[in-house]
Chain length 411, copies 2
């Protein structure tokens, strides 16, 4: 592992010397190589699918794992889009002259070697490799065991393009030891690895955060809320609430708990219920909610902490915006939080008090994503507070250094 | 500890609601309170100084620890300067309209609760407390045992000002359990603590990095180099080298190893030697250097890895800029690196290839500091690659969130 990572770190310097033109041409070749090797990739994928059957994976997991010609083409298209992105490194982010006459430029640079730990979807392998290559970072990829054959095939295709271009194949690597022990080693290798991005279950992310000496950008839990204020436009409120829960309930920016202002609970809750009933949503309620709406299961501390990732919703009646803020401080995960209100003072109070990556007024939390934000390709949605917060575009794969131009200055 | 940090986190929300006007007025009161309580602070400091004598601390350490009237006044002045800084939170860093008609504002916000671990100098207590308060962060301070009485006295004075203004005294706190176990607990408390800033010896920083689950911004080793290229202006080169080593040798941005282009080694090294001899610098050399200059001790792998923090310098002859880059990649700590050359192509090659917080052409590495960069107050010099890199001004104590203004949008 030590030797492998040492080589990876060395190839980072080689990668950093490539011009944008060269990098973009290599990326286009990679896209074409994926298309040319579709048969090979699909054959590897069929091994994973067979194992998935034998291991009784859920149909949702199998769907994430499955590749066909059009999905491989989609991977190629994604790489072409990444190739077309603006060059992310070498941008002058700031610049000034100091009192001593030094010219300082703050310039974007690659992070170096990035370890990425993920699950299921084989397209993450090619997407991530391309995003890292474009931003001149070496990636060390650790995909899920269930997608191993597919990931190996995809990585081989990309590596062949590197070799054909006389570049070190270590620029894009799968972690050689993909066991739990391999991961344990990787996250301690701060001598060679500059960043770990874990994407996956809570357990994995907790493990990585607690044990890594390498810095970590997490992509974890979204315990998102929508608060409907007494001054809300009710049509907007219901439509946004339905969208936040039901448009796609299995994702991190979907709503888990709806907070309703006590001042309008009596009149609003029946409308809310019939709207969600039409979507087949399973509703749970706090005591006040259950007095107004009959037959709901109880929602308490445990439910308010649960990220359902399913068509299930908690409803809680709170005392105005302060009650909503208190609830979110207690139960929110700092991902995405929304208030529905026409009152600007109430809205700003909420936006300022809530400490989350994305805070919304009069819009659905489902907009927290790189595409909707206009970032183009997305590395993920960071739940870190530092480095990258919220939707993370390719800039999230860069850091900066100061270039200082003197003419003989000493102190 | 749990309960203490929970209260600290709660006071972060209270602090975040204060206007800049209120914060600045409180800071000015703190400055005055330090002046008014000079006798009390000096009395506490005399206890620390007595213990320092009994424990045979070095005179350098004792000088760092020592306070007198003028040093207390200096602490007050520092707080007044921090009060006068531009408001760091609530700045709109970026903003745009999305395709869906959402207005997105990227706004600077406090980080939350920051744990700061430091040594010796009692003025760090008041400086850090003021920087955190100005940026609406709660600080949990863990100073060195040797400065305990002084730190307690200073913190009490600041806390009294908070209480007088009806603010929670938890906004500025000393870690209640200042033992090793207390620190071990603090760095795992990611539920309440958002950032740890360790400032001190390598051992401490290593321990914190390896064991923290809270994100860490390190301020550690500066293994800095100056490379004199064959195309250097020799007068500049010698002056800058002397400055980088001798102006203040005990600091992280001082040079530890001088690299000399083999093409000019024969003619340059004797001049270098006589310049450093005049400064009383102890020189060590690689084999080539020792052939040209007689009587130097040997510098090899161990010396190249050593941060002397003293008037001792390694000299190594390298093959041009590529040799210098190779040496720095092997031995540099990513802090500050300089090339002395009039050749723009050589200089840019060096600036681009070296992965350090600050890379210089024709200037001394001693400029890597917040004051010289024009940042005003300095939190420290980060050797992190992420979040804050290099000199860290008060902006380094902020992060951002996205405020999103909709008019009923759903997806």
């Amino acid at each position: 592992m030590d030797n492998f990572l040492k080589k990876a770190a060395a190839s980072a310097r080689e990668l950093n010397e490539l011009s944008a033109k060269v990098k973009n041409a290599v990326l286009l070749e990679m896209a074409q190589a994926l298309r040319d090797n579709t048969a090979k990739i699909l054959q590897a994928n069929s091994i994973d699918m067979k194992n998935a059957d034998e291991n009784n994976l859920t149909s949702a997991l199998k769907d994430r794992l499955f590749l066909d010609e059009s999905r491989v083409d989609g991977m190629a298209v994604a790489i072409e889009e990444i190739s077309a992105l603006k060059e992310p490194v070498g941008r002058v982010l700031d610049g000034w002259m100091t009192d001593d006459g030094l010219k300082i430029e703050k310039v974007s640079v690659p992070i170096g070697v990035i370890g990425i730990i993920y699950e299921s979807r084989p397209n993450v392998t090619s997407d991530t490799a391309a995003l890292c290559f474009k931003s001149a970072n070496v990636c060390v990829l650790k995909g899920g065991k269930e997608a191993e054959a597919s990931n190996v095939a995809i990585a081989e295709v990309l590596k062949e393009v590197l070799i054909k271009n006389s570049l070190s194949h270590e620029m894009i690597s799968l972690l050689p030891d993909s066991s739990r022990e391999g991961v344990a080693k990787l996250i301690k290798m701060d001598k060679y690895v500059d960043l770990i991005v874990p994407r996956g279950g809570e357990g994995l992310i907790r493990y990585v955060s607690e044990n890594a000496s390498v810095p970590v950008v997490k992509h974890d839990k979204g315990q998102c809320h929508t608060y409907i204020d007494k001054d809300a436009n009710i049509d907007n409120a219901i439509r946004i609430a339905i969208n936040a829960k039901c448009q796609r309930s299995g994702v991190c920016n979907a709503m888990e708990t709806l907070l309703v202002d006590s001042a309008i609970a009596e009149s609003l809750l029946p409308k809310i219920k019939s709207a969600f009933d039409a979507e087949g949503t399973e509703l749970k309620g706090c005591d006040t909610t259950r007095k107004i709406l009959n037959g709901l299961a109880h929602a308490g501390d445990t439910e308010f902490h649960t990220e359902y990732l399913a068509n299930i919703l908690n409803i809680r009646v709170v005392d105005g915006v302060s009650g909503a803020i208190d609830h979110i401080i207690e139960y929110g995960s700092g991902h995405s939080e929304a208030i529905i209100s026409e009152n600007i003072t109430t809205a700003e109070k909420f936006l300022n008090a809530i400490d989350a990556a994305a805070v919304y007024v009069n819009a659905s939390t489902r907009f927290t994503d790189g595409g909707a934000f206009g970032f183009g390709a997305e590395v993920g949605i960071s739940t870190n507070k530092l480095h990258a917060r919220g939707p993370m575009g390719i800039e999230g794969l860069t850091t900066y250094k100061f270039k200082i131009y003197g003419s003989g200055q000493s102190r």
